[in-house]
Subunit: 301 residues, 2 copies
Amino acid sequence: MQLEFRHLRAVRAISEAGSLSLAAERLHMTQSALSHQVRGLEEQVGIELFVRRVRPLRLSSAGERLLELAERVLPMVEDFVAQMTDCRAGEAGRLSIAIECHACFEWLFPALEQFRQVWPKVDIDIRPGLAFDALDALMDEQVDVVISSDPKETPDICFVPLFTYAPTFVAASQHPLAAKPYIEPEDLRNETLITYPVEKSRLDVFSQFLTPAQIEPHTIRQVELTSMILLLVASGRGVAVLPDWVLQQENFDLATRPLTAKGITRQLFAACRTADVAKDFLQDFFALASNASLHQPKDRR
Amino acid sequence: MQLEFRHLRAVRAISEAGSLSLAAERLHMTQSALSHQVRGLEEQVGIELFVRRVRPLRLSSAGERLLELAERVLPMVEDFVAQMTDCRAGEAGRLSIAIECHACFEWLFPALEQFRQVWPKVDIDIRPGLAFDALDALMDEQVDVVISSDPKETPDICFVPLFTYAPTFVAASQHPLAAKPYIEPEDLRNETLITYPVEKSRLDVFSQFLTPAQIEPHTIRQVELTSMILLLVASGRGVAVLPDWVLQQENFDLATRPLTAKGITRQLFAACRTADVAKDFLQDFFALASNASLHQPKDRR
DNA sequence: GATTATTATGAATTTGATTTATATTAACCC
DNA sequence: GGGTTAATATAAATCAAATTCATAATAATC
């Protein structure tokens, strides 16, 4: 035989009940079964666990150690079972998010904060690292949601539209380009463009604006933090293109202009496995995320 | 079915091996058995635990929680098993000591300190509280050793002699009784006797000296700490009777005198269950305790 | 598309936990 | 102290379920 959970439960029950027969009753089994169980366990451990010559039954020193084990282990197991029950009920789960878009942190954190209050049992996790193959990660359940602006038709994955945004040019208000009503690709040919440190194909400025026109800016400077980019732009070190939601309510002395005469519009999506899309907490997350760009201004400071 | 240790081991092995078949091999079972096991577990939990459409096999989020549980629980169990193995090998165990004699702390602590170094896996425990029925406590395995000066012939319990000592009169060196070569019961009739706060029957002064002579001291003052008793005696607030080992090397200006012309001699015993007496660590403890009164002087300061 | 490795499934087997029935032991009570 | 009662142990029988064997289905590789 081998040590099993049933033995831990038995020891706990016996120690609480003070007798085999009462413990057996509480465990919904016959006294005989429990007696066999205890004897088997003692044989297996090779040490007496109970002091039988005395009533109420007492634990030996080895028995006490087993009880200790039981009292540490069983609550963990019960916890786990409760978690799984919550999971089945749709109360608990995992919301592991991969973000392809760098600026998304700006609205995602406040949205997740709201989410956390409504779904305390869901554990939230953001994985910025695996942006490269986020959809694969979604397929093997490494993540549960991917935030992305280019939906790829994929079996078993569905893309939920969140909100539209406009990649917008931003420069210091004294900057010469601030004089123009809108910005064209050629305007950037002699500029220093400040971007997030990711490949060009994943930056709207390139994929939607410069690359189609086959134009390169004079210099590219890569900066991690959104607020740092804005600071550099405000101090005239370069220009940038950022989603409009980032620029809606900034302190800096900045000029924002649309890209091209009619402006460029993009849409942000949340991708998840089709198997999961019906989950309440996911739907709720999508709803919160959809409104996130609106709430952004008040939440910022 | 029910969650069992085997499932935790399975999940751990699968996550390590990255495939059912390899994991099954490592667990010394057929791939089929493991497959059945996993399926059964998933049925019982009601949630998919593994992502099979991908290789190497990955855990789902629920599976990862189960793995977490496994990685917390299994080491505890393995620890327990190791403890029991040590126990069977006589390496580990419990040494829970009940002391009937108050002054014994004086030599017991240093002895246990030595013991601890030789038997690190034995956990030591002193229970001063249950002095009243120490032998009963020994029988039900509440304690493993009783230090006592009056052995009672009891089945299944054996008394190991440790060392002899002389209950000795002590007074301030200016005290009138210090002039006498030895002390007789009548000498205490008008004295303040300082004793430990326990019943008279458990104090040598009474059981061996005053009670047989049917004499009571003028006043009894009860004091917990040995050093406090000595302090009070030295400052002339009373007299006391203490084991000679306590008095061997004191700083205070004290006179010590034998009780009665020929002196009184007593013996200290360690009682243990006959079933345990052969245990190596107990024998070692007895040996250390036997020498304890000798080492006492050097260990004291 | 064929081959190989991996996983799943069904039926048979075996293990071992539990029950039923009964014996043994300890505790209790005049 | 003997009789009663409660508690525990044991033996044999039963039952549940874990594992194996044999084989099918599936995914991965060349």
